[in-house]
């Protein structure tokens, strides 16, 4: 019996706030990978972006992480990881991937050590099996089709980062019925080369709950019940997180990755 490759799904984003759609992406990705017969999704990680990203309307990471935690309370396989949000400054997505990959390797190796040190009679049948064929988990970036499209935005991504993401890690990209993300792959030599590592998943049940629309509804005093978890709604109300003022945060600022690029190409401009 061929054993399945364990997979960890990592979603990076603002999660401003976490919506039902964000969590649905994980469910869709897991179903898709399982149905290929080749993978076993063992974990999902939500990684809210650092405050320093500078996106308009981005509220403090403290709140965004707290809301994600509340949203994921009832999930038995997805968790939120604050590492990215706790760094000194904004971190490139590829670095976040590397960090979580290294973490998973560390966990994997310490498990192996632990199993090796256990006397054979102490191991359960399941543990013995996995000892014989220990497979290192793969870490894949989970995203929507619009994310794939951002690869084309000038100066937003470094070419070598994109290459590492699709070559070393892999993408699971969810798109809605009616849109065709394969065209973005066709239009890029780099993506075409590694298309075997880009999984396209179609969401037939349209559920486009954009966080921007949620924030807009909240500012207008409109209901967002059944679009985001009740616990998150309560948290937002309790801390009065989204207001006209919070929407104006970072207004007019450049996104951090774009700022960095400008610095790099014009270090001597005075």
């Amino acid at each position: 019996m061929k054993s399945r490759i364990p997979v960890i799904l990592l979603a990076c984003g603002s999660f401003n706030p976490t919506t039902n759609m964000h969590m649905r992406l994980f469910e869709l990705a897991r179903d898709h990978l399982h149905q290929t017969g080749r993978y076993q999704v063992i974990e999902g990680i939500m990684s809210p972006v650092n405050d320093n990203y500078g996106k308009k309307g981005l509220v403090s990471a403290r709140h965004r992480v707290a809301m994600a935690k509340l949203a994921l309370e009832t999930s038995d396989w997805i968790r939120v990881d604050p590492w990215e949000s706790e760094q000194e400054t904004w971190t490139e997505t590829v670095k976040v991937l590397r960090h979580h990959y290294n973490e998973s390797v560390r966990v994997f190796q310490s498990k192996k050590e632990f199993m090796r040190n256990k006397h054979p009679t102490e191991r359960s049948a399941g543990e013995s099996l996995s000892c014989q064929q220990p497979v290192l988990p793969e870490l894949k970036l989970l995203c929507g089709a619009d994310f794939l499209q951002t690869f084309k935005t000038p100066n937003l991504w470094k070419e070598e980062d994109i290459k590492e993401i699709v070559e070393k890690f892999g993408l699971v990209c969810i798109s809605r019925a009616g849109s065709d993300p394969s065209q973005y792959i066709q239009e890029s030599d780099l993506l075409t080369k590694f298309q075997h590592n880009i999984f396209l998943v179609k969401e037939w049940i349209q559920n486009e709950i954009s966080a921007t629309q949620i924030r807009s509804a909240l500012c207008r005093g409109l209901s967002v019940k059944y679009l985001i978890p009740d616990s998150v709604i309560a948290y937002i109300a309790q801390h009065n997180i989204y207001t006209e003022e919070s929407e104006r945060k970072n207004e007019g600022d450049l996104l951090q990755p774009l700022k960095l690029h400008n610095t790099i190409i014009n270090p001597l401009s005075d």
């Binding site: 869709l28 349209q206 709950i209 629309q213 019940k225």
Partner: protein
């Protein structure tokens, strides 16, 4: 003047097979919309699952559908489930369900107002006498034509409204009474055909002031059909239906290829009923 707001109860009829986040969202959207007009106050939402006698393909027992809807609305402070329709042994026209709930609302109101010892400004509403206010005490109104009588409006999606055009599915006089005496709150996607559909029907056009069109900007197409399909294929429905509903479906293994085959080949109840009166069927336009 806040006292002149019309009290509204939103009634949603349908299979709810199963209930989804989209169904629940309809209520939220309708309430927000009516409140923003400044003319209405939504006092209650009612989910009325159709009876088994409707004989729609794939329709599982009303007991389960009602239970799931109740689970889904447990933590709502204004939307509730009513099983009167589902308990009837024969299929009931939507208008009859509307009339039933309207009657219920009126008699509850009359009971309240009979208990009033103080002057009221409208049926059923107790009002404290405030000594410094110089407002005339309004007479208790008995006539149902007065604006302040609470209304029951049919809440639906664009598919239901557009189904008015399907021959023999609705009686023309029913549609007329629904839009004339009660009213419709129809939630649809931006760019839908609904405005055109209303324009092309004389009856709907005549009563268009009683048809409230609410645009749903957040695309949300969680149809029960797709949910059942996902379940048959072993796919996750998390975050599309309330967790308690998902757990209930799982526990009772409600949906399968077999359940989807129920009523296969059976004629839908309204068609059975009206096809025999085909000489009476008139066009909506």
């Amino acid at each position: 003047d806040p006292d002149m707001k019309t009290e509204v109860v939103l009634l949603a009829c349908g299979s709810f097979n199963p209930i989804t986040n989209m169904h629940l969202r309809l209520f939220e959207l309708a309430k927000d919309y009516l409140h923003e007009t400044g003319k209405y106050k939504v006092i209650k939402g009612i989910i009325s699952p159709v009876g088994d006698a409707y004989q729609k393909k794939g329709l599982i027992s009303a007991h389960h559908r009602v239970t799931m809807a109740k689970l889904a609305t447990k933590n709502s402070d204004w939307v509730e489930v009513d099983d009167w329709e589902s308990c009837q042994s024969e299929w009931l026209e939507t208008l009859k369900v509307l009339r039933y709930h309207h009657q219920k609302l009126l008699s509850a109101d009359v009971t309240n107002s009979l208990q009033d010892a103080v002057p009221v400004t409208k049926l059923g509403r107790k009002r404290k006498q405030e000594p410094n206010r110089h407002e005339p005490v309004k007479k208790k109104s008995q006539s149902p034509a007065v604006k302040s009588v609470p209304q029951v409006k049919l809440l639906c999606g664009s598919d239901v409204l557009e189904s008015f055009g399907i021959p023999n599915l609705w009686k023309l006089e029913d549609i007329t009474e629904i839009v004339e005496k009660h009213g419709l709150v129809c939630i649809s996607r931006a760019g839908s055909n609904v405005p055109k559909f209303i324009y092309e029907s004389d009856i709907l056009w005549r009563h268009k002031n009683n048809i409230h069109l609410v645009e749903e900007w957040i695309t949300n197409d969680i149809s029960s059909t797709k949910i059942r399909r996902a379940l048959r294929r072993g796919q996750s429905i998390r975050y599309l239906v309330p967790d308690v509903v998902g757990a209930y479906i799982e526990k009772h293994q409600l949906y399968s290829p077999e359940s989807e085959d129920r009523n296969a080949g059976v004629v839908l109840a309204p068609f059975q009923k009206y096809a025999s009166d085909s000489k009476d069927s008139q066009a909506l336009n």
